[in-house]
Structures are given as structure tokens and as C-alpha cells.
């Protein structure tokens, strides 16, 4: 239980996808111009991360890891398929995103209208694949922790993009040196927010 709670808090604040690893920066910078769309993309990322991470975890534990295929037959104890990880993870993410898009379009047109345009973007969001690769590296003990890690990372990402969008909305009224306008100042802001988030790094649960 404690494991789950500490993974959750760590993944939101300390190992924040954006401020600690810069994952998903492209869509973070492109879509953080107003709070409403940022929120939409944030929710989509939380959903996809929380759903694909357990899938990829199962794939890792029952197919890819060395000796993972023992449940098929004991002869496979030495088979190590982890080099196939990249292809399988990205295939899971891309097909899941496609699936979600179709389901949402069929059953909830209003949600599709607000979320729809962001869904295809998410397949190539580094934060999703990054989550899967970190999961492989950290070797979580069970499915629950992996799911919570996905959920927490997604929430951390959403927190970052919504905060950024709120600041950028206010920024329109400030006087910025011309060459820094747009991309330049966005970088500096992200850095300052990152330094702010570093103050969480002492927290231990």
C-alpha cells in the first residue's frame, strides 16, 4: 500500500515527466496557448498513459523479459525477447490510441469533439512511450504499482501543461524582448517552473 502511495506522489511531483525528463515537450509547447485546450490534451494523456502502461507491463512480464515465456513451455527459460520492446510498446500505444478514438467517436460524440483532435497527436507523444520505457527500467513489483505510476505520470504532465497555459495566457500583456517572444520565453518559463518543482525533491513518503 505504501509502495503505491509513494510511487503515486513521486511520479506526479518528483519524477515529473516534463520538468525532470522533458518528455512530451513538443505537444507541451505547441498546445499550451490556452487553458481549455491544454486541459483537454492533459486529460487525454492521463487516460492513455493509465491504460497503456498496465498493458505494456503485462507484455513485459509475460512476453519480453528473460524467461518470461516459461508459462508457455519450460523450454523457453533462456529466451530473452527484450530487444523487441520498442516495436511492441509503440504498436500497443498506436493501436490503443486508434481504438480509443473509434470508441469515443461512436459512443460520445461530444467528448470526441473536444478530445478528438488531440488523440492522434498522443500516439507520438514521448511521455507515453517514455512511461513504458521507464516502467521497463524500474522493474515494478506488480501490476498495481505500474498502473499507479502511469496514472501519476499522466497527472503530473497535465498539471504542468495547465499551469504553463495559465501563465502564457497572462504573458500576452507583458513586454518581452522581441527575439525572445513565443518559443524563447516559453523555454525560460518552463525552466523556472522546473526549478520550482525541484523543491519537491526532498519529500519522502
Amino acid at each position: 500500500m505504501q509502495d503505491i502511495l509513494s510511487t503515486f506522489v513521486r511520479s506526479i511531483f518528483i519524477d515529473n515527466m516534463i520538468f525532470a525528463y522533458f518528455l512530451g515537450m513538443c505537444s507541451f509547447l505547441a498546445v499550451s496557448k490556452n487553458v481549455k485546450t491544454a486541459m483537454g490534451l492533459g486529460i487525454a494523456v492521463v487516460f492513455v498513459l493509465a491504460a497503456t502502461l498496465p498493458l505494456n507491463y503485462l507484455l513485459e512480464v509475460y512476453v519480453l523479459k528473460q524467461g518470461a515465456l516459461v508459462w508457455l513451455s519450460p523450454e523457453f527459460a533462456n529466451v530473452d525477447l527484450s530487444f523487441l520492446g520498442f516495436i511492441l510498446f509503440i504498436a500497443v500505444v498506436a493501436s490503443f490510441v486508434q481504438l480509443v478514438e473509434m470508441v469515443v467517436e461512436k459512443f460520445s460524440p461530444s467528448l470526441y469533439a473536444s478530445l478528438g483532435i488531440f488523440l492522434p497527436l498522443i500516439a507520438v507523444n514521448c511521455a507515453i512511450l517514455g512511461g513504458a520505457l521507464f516502467m521497463q527500467q524500474k522493474a515494478f513489483p506488480n501490476l498495481g504499482v505500474a498502473t499507479v505510476y502511469g496514472l501519476g505520470s499522466g497527472i503530473g504532465w497535465m498539471l504542468a501543461i495547465v499551469g504553463m497555459a495559465a501563465i502564457r495566457e497572462k504573458l500576452q500583456y507583458s513586454d518581452i524582448p522581441k527575439p525572445l517572444k513565443g518559443l524563447g520565453i516559453a523555454f525560460i518559463l518552463t525552466a523556472l517552473m522546473g526549478i520550482g518543482f525541484m523543491s519537491f525533491s526532498g519529500i519522502k513518503i
Binding site: 515537450m25 530487444f83 523487441l84 520498442f86 509503440i90 492522434p120 522581441k178 518559443l183 525552466a191 522546473g194
Partner: protein
């Protein structure tokens, strides 16, 4: 090797006016996390150049046979296969660096530069120019990475590629390494400075 005027533009454009990071805003994700030292930055730059060039070539060769509905998945599979090859090569020949880069080699798959160039260039052009476009964009990306890595390692640890550059006499006089440069947020500030510099030289690039 005689390059035509057009090919030269495709190859060299991304180094300056059309730089993938500072102008097109692509591939920022992985650009920053690997630049706290110069060596991983160089390895990353070379890996991305190789992957971009060859995925451009492959997709350009296949461009007339891929149905456009499933093209994203086809592109991802091609890129993922190339990245797997790069990853295995690095593990075999440069194990230390590949440990340092950890997940970021895998993340080349979702690097927006690769996907962006495939969508914007390789799907509509012949294999030759596509290959050059891939090399050009890889180099433009690498250029920024290496500049950022250079400053962060020099100011943050006083070394370059692991060799001590700042002489001991400086430290004796009270010079200290700036520990802040090694932390992740400083990568963003250095890139912002590069953008600032580039845009004050080149007024066309400024945003309204």
C-alpha cells in the same frame, strides 16, 4: 561530389534558418535530457541523424504503396526497427554511453523530428533528396545538442568529453563550478539563449 543547388539547400537549410529545434520546434523532448555532458550529446546526435536519414529513405521508397489511413503505424514500425538496430549497436560497442542515455535512445521513435520529416518531406519526395533532408535535419538537431552539451559540461563540471579543461590554478583562485548547469532546467535556459541569439541576428524569425 557535385550537389545541385536544390539539394544543397535541402542539406544545409536545417543547420541555420530552418533548424528543427530552434525554428521548427521539433524534437525538443529528447534534446534536453541528454546534454548535461558532451559525450552523450554527440552520440545522441549521431544516432538521430542515422535514424532520420534511413527512415526518410525507406519511407520515401515505400511512399507510393502505403495506404494513407495506416501510414502512421507503418512509419512507427519502420522507425522502431531502425532504433532497435541503433540501440543494439550502441549496447555492443559503447556500453557506458548507452547506459547513460538509458531510455532516451528508445525515445528517438517518438522524436517529433523523425515523424515530422517523414510526414512533411519523405511522403512527397524522391528517395535521394529525402535521404539528404534526413541527414540535414539530423545535423541541425545535433548542432544544437552539441552546443548545449558543450556549455553545460564546461560550466557545470569544468571538463570537456571527460578531460579537465579549466586549469587547477583557477580553482585555487576561488573559481567554482556552477552546479546549477548540470540540473535539468538549465538545458532549457541554454536553448532559450541560443534562440534569443539566433533571432536577434535574423529578424525574419521573430514572432509577432
Amino acid at each position: 561530389m557535385g550537389l545541385s543547388e536544390n539539394n544543397k539547400k535541402i542539406l544545409l537549410g536545417p543547420l541555420g534558418k530552418n533548424n528543427p529545434i530552434s525554428v521548427q520546434m521539433l524534437g525538443i523532448c529528447s534534446a534536453l535530457a541528454v546534454t548535461s555532458k558532451l559525450e552523450p550529446a554527440i552520440v545522441m546526435a549521431v544516432s538521430v541523424t542515422v535514424v532520420t536519414a534511413f527512415s526518410n529513405l525507406v519511407i520515401s521508397l515505400l511512399r507510393n504503396t502505403i495506404p494513407s489511413r495506416i501510414r502512421i503505424i507503418v512509419q512507427l514500425v519502420v522507425v522502431a526497427a531502425l532504433v532497435t538496430i541503433v540501440n543494439e549497436v550502441l549496447k555492443a560497442f559503447a556500453y557506458d554511453v548507452s547506459k547513460q542515455l538509458s531510455v532516451f535512445i528508445g525515445l528517438i521513435i517518438t522524436n517529433c523530428i523523425v515523424m515530422g520529416r517523414l510526414e512533411a518531406f519523405a511522403l512527397g519526395n524522391k528517395p535521394g533528396p529525402s535521404f539528404l533532408d534526413g541527414i540535414g535535419n539530423g545535423l541541425g538537431y545535433g548542432l544544437i545538442l552539441i552546443v548545449v552539451g558543450f556549455f553545460r559540461e564546461l560550466l557545470g563540471s569544468g571538463t570537456l568529453l571527460g578531460f579537465q579543461v579549466i586549469p587547477q590554478s583557477f580553482y585555487d583562485m576561488g573559481y567554482a563550478n556552477n552546479g546549477l548547469m548540470i540540473l535539468p532546467p538549465m538545458a532549457l535556459i541554454v536553448v532559450a539563449c541560443i534562440i534569443w541569439f539566433q533571432r536577434s541576428k535574423d529578424k525574419d524569425l521573430q514572432e509577432k
